[in-house]
């Protein structure tokens, strides 16, 4: 009965794969823009926080403890990292887990387009939003409070990309571990507080006591914070910091890919 083999089966089964992926991306961009909550926490909140801190007069004064720099100078990289944490750990995991939980990924597996297209689109969009948030924080820091733009832009960009990669990997790992969207929201709120701490949201990494600082340096955001700080002051981020971020990204991506379940 295999003679029933039909003509259409031998024709290309998908519309041009590229155009199908573009359609997925377009629709996910639309959906992303329909989440005002996520957009606020990722894009607006870090810069608002930076502005509030910048309005405190003492934070705009040079202090000897910070080698002649101002508190506000340290908070620009913190705001940059905060946007990333919001994107990768607060906003993204419930979306991805929800897609699995609601059977959206399964539904897509029955079409010629793989459900990974959906996940890739969401991860990329959150990454872009985090970078947009970083640009906004840097612009407001520069215009509002005279915080110098990065002295080593290339090094800064490299550190920024590695930091985004590591936070997106971490967010993906959360989705792999959490069975439900609720569970992922619960786990991510713990992880994200921890990450905010290591990124220096409460105390800038540069002001942490020595032992704590040594430990924090080995976390992706502790390393990111130092790398951004160095590049901001005109130097190249050290291999140690870039290495820590790269290693975390690689390890966490590997785990996320291994542990992820499609249903």
């Amino acid at each position: 009965m295999t003679t029933a083999n039909p003509a259409p089966a031998t024709a290309p089964a998908t519309a041009s794969a590229a155009s199908a992926h573009r359609a997925v991306l377009r629709s996910e961009i639309r959906l992303f823009l329909r989440e005002p909550g996520s957009l606020f926490w990722i894009m607006v909140f870090p810069t608002v926080l930076l502005t509030i801190l910048g309005l405190i007069p003492s934070f705009r004064e040079h202090t000897d403890e910070l080698a002649g720099r101002r508190v506000i100078d340290l908070y620009v990289p913190v705001a940059v990292l905060l946007g990333m944490i919001m994107a990768g750990l607060q906003a993204m995991p419930p979306v991805l887990t929800g897609y699995r939980e609601r059977g959206i990924l399964r539904r897509m597996s029955t079409t010629p387009v793989r459900p990974s297209a959906l996940l890739t689109a969401q991860i990329a969009l959150h990454g872009v939003a985090a970078l947009g948030s970083a640009a906004l924080a840097m612009a407001v820091g520069r215009i509002g409070f005279g915080v110098a733009l990065p002295g080593q832009p290339l090094g800064y960009a490299l550190a920024l990309l590695l930091a985004v990669a590591s936070v997106l990997a971490l967010g993906s790992l959360l989705c792999a571990l959490a069975r439900t969207a609720k569970a992922s929201a619960a786990i991510s709120s713990v992880v994200y507080l921890l990450m905010m701490f290591t990124a220096g949201v409460w105390i800038p990494v540069q002001s942490m006591p020595d032992t704590l600082r040594t430990i924090v340096r080995f976390t992706p955001f502790g390393a990111a914070s130092e790398a951004l700080d160095r590049a901001a002051s005109g130097g190249w981020p050290g291999f140690a910091q870039l290495g820590v971020m790269a290693l975390w990204t690689a390890l966490v991506t590997f785990l996320a890919a291994r542990l992820f379940r499609w249903e």
Partner: protein, 304 residues
């Protein structure tokens, strides 16, 4: 009926979850252009069986072919010619009806006109409505539309009319018949007898992971032990000796004054002439054909 080509072949498929067999050696072949039903009680393994056809599950043993292709190994080609409506699958909550239809039609090389499809399913009035705001029936109709939007050769519909009101259900049946008439093969999973009887050319009854019967709806009804039931209240009591040996009678029961006999058409004729001979009036005389329900209950009880 002319024997068409089998477009879906399921041969000795087994699937266990955690050591518990859910599908236990299921075989059937669906001819091109027919509506083939899979009927069975909840948990019988219907959904798992069609998930193997859709390539969503890999059978532990056995062979599945769709248009001669392996749904797992040839996933990309099979998904291009098979449209699926899954049980309990949702869409992105904030995606609108029109966006969903447009998106899914972009997945296929030669899609159907999604606007026309939406109009036939009565979805054109809710183009701008987000998935999360749709009623159960609208969600169901959208999911049927998405199964058809790729212009498939085979559609697999799992519990297609669950959640629809009777009118929408009948409209959907009509649509499915039109789909079949346009040359698309339909594999329909259901636990609605009426739906199976109305729509299906052939039905496989599955119980506890096995095919317990495979026939046309009328074939299944005819195979049921007692196909006709006659019941009446006689104007005067009738003794068992008076009733005697009725031809074809399978059983005789008394419910108070009422007599219930199941048997064949021949039994009915014999009862009527018997009553005439004794000049007995039969009050509230009822003759009922066995239904697919009876056949189904017979079949699934046998498998216990």
């Amino acid at each position: 009926m002319l024997v068409g080509m089998a477009i879906i072949e399921v041969d000795g498929v087994r699937k266990s979850y955690a050591g518990r067999p859910v599908v236990d050696g299921v075989s059937f072949a669906v001819d091109e252009g027919e509506i083939f039903g899979i009927l069975g009680p909840n948990g019988a393994g219907k959904t798992t069986t069609v998930e193997c056809v859709e390539g969503l599950r890999i059978p532990d043993a056995g062979r599945v072919r769709v248009a001669g292709l392996d749904p797992v190994a040839d996933h990309d080609r099979v998904t291009g010619l098979l449209g699926a409506q899954l049980q309990e699958s949702e869409l992105q909550p904030k995606l609108t009806v029109a966006e969903a239809l447009e998106l899914y039609s972009a997945f296929y090389p030669d899609p159907a006109d999604w606007r026309e499809l939406a109009e036939r399913l009565g979805l054109h009035t809710v183009y701008g409505t987000r998935f999360a705001k749709l009623s159960g029936g609208q969600k169901q109709r959208l999911s049927i539309a998405l199964a058809l939007v790729g212009g498939p050769r085979v559609v697999v519909l799992d519990e297609l009319t669950t959640g629809l009101d009777p009118r929408a259900r009948r409209d959907t049946w009509k649509l499915i018949e039109d789909v079949r008439d346009s040359g698309v093969t339909v594999l329909l999973v259901t636990h609605f007898m009426e739906e199976a009887r109305q729509l299906c050319d052939r039905i496989a009854v599955i119980d506890k992971g096995k095919v317990v019967a495979l026939d046309t709806p009328s074939g299944l009804i005819g195979s049921s032990g007692s196909s006709t039931v006659i019941s009446f209240t006689p104007s005067r009591p009738l003794t068992d000796t008076e009733l005697g040996q009725l031809p074809g009678a399978a059983s005789l029961e008394r419910e108070g004054d009422r007599i219930v006999i199941s048997g064949t058409d021949e039994t009915v004729n014999a009862v009527i002439s018997l009553l005439a001979r004794h000049r007995i009036t039969a009050h509230r005389l009822r003759v009922s054909e066995a239904t697919l329900d009876d056949a189904f209950l017979d079949l699934t009880e046998q498998a216990v």
